[in-house]
């Protein structure tokens, strides 16, 4: 099965890389950049996993719940 996991910094956590990228977009000519948040996307191809196991993988390894939120979609 293929799974795509998206991990994003929590809204309360400052994302300095996102802020720097927002400034760069303004330099590129984009006006009114309200916010840029940079996260990561992870694609898994594994034999089998329950939703609970996927949550465990996300909680314990792939994301850090102190600063990040995650969600996953099962592609097929």
């Amino acid at each position: 099965m293929k799974i795509r996991i998206t991990i994003m910094p929590q809204s309360a956590v400052l994302d300095p890389a996102g802020v720097a990228t927002a400034h760069a977009l303004e330099h590129l000519g984009f006006a009114g950049v309200h916010s840029v948040r940079i996260g990561k996307s992870i694609e898994l191809d594994i034999a089998e996993a329950t939703e609970e196991q996927l949550h465990q993988a996300c909680r314990d390894l792939l994301s850090n719940p102190v600063i990040e939120d995650y969600h996953f979609e099962i592609l097929k």
């Binding site: 300095p16 390894l61 850090n64 102190v66 600063i67």
Partner: protein
């Protein structure tokens, strides 16, 4: 004789410095311990050194948490053994939930490699007992991800229990935003657990143990550790 393990993960790079620093004290037998080791029963003191374990892949310290030796570190933590995490070692201890909160990218996005001034906030721990409360220590930092963050309730608990041991300060000992090299909450540079046997800090005391290196203030911390272990 105090038996000290300096752990080596793939990508650790301050392991030799930590080993040399701790061996410069008498009464200590220190050795490097590879991350595949599954028992730390033979040791009284465990140091997780700085570096870039597993290339900082995923998040700093995240993959090192799953090294076999970390099960032994968790067991040692429960037994009340003394555990010191420096820089990447601090990041690993946070990822392993042995210390609360976590360390994220420096607010200014810079990798800061410079000397900092730290104000010692609590000298009633095995790590700081040879220091004075309020004492200023000069210790170098070298990190890109040292901005300490935690939920407000965790931060409150750290303050209530005197778990914040070091804060970045000005030369006068003031805690100001400008004195923080990385944007850490409340200028936090080092914290310990509630039981006060686990300490993590971003500055490098092992790089400040010889006058030739510009500061010997790191010796206060190692001296504290060794004195408290000698009494056991």
């Amino acid at each position: 004789m105090i038996r000290c393990a300096v752990l080596q993960f793939p990508g650790s790079n301050c392991d030799q410095d930590a080993l040399i620093a701790i061996r410069s004290f008498s009464g200590v037998a220190a050795e490097l311990v590879w991350h595949q080791t599954t028992s730390l029963e033979a040791f009284d003191l465990i140091i997780l050194p700085g570096g870039f374990s597993y290339g900082d892949y995923l998040r700093s310290g995240a993959i090192a948490c799953f090294s076999p030796v970390m099960q032994a570190v968790k067991k040692a933590a429960q037994q009340g053994k003394i555990i010191l995490g420096i820089c990447n070692g601090f990041q690993i201890l946070c990822e392993a939930h042995l210390l609360p909160g976590t360390l994220i990218r420096n607010r200014n996005l810079l990798f800061r490699c410079e000397e900092t001034i730290l104000r010692l906030e609590n000298n009633v721990t095995p790590f700081t007992q040879a220091c004075e409360k309020g004492q200023l220590l000069r210790l170098p930092i070298a990190h890109g991800e040292g901005c300490y963050v935690a939920q407000p309730d965790v931060l409150q608990e750290l303050n209530n229990n005197n778990q914040i041991l070091l804060r970045y300060a000005t030369a006068e000992g003031e805690i100001t935003k400008a004195a923080s090299p990385n944007g850490s909450l409340e200028n936090i540079a080092g914290i310990c657990n509630r039981e006060k046997n686990i300490f993590g800090l971003m500055p490098h005391p092992e790089r400040a143990c010889e006058a030739l290196l510009g500061s010997t203030d790191g010796r206060f911390l190692f001296h504290s550790l060794i004195t408290s272990l000698s009494k056991k």
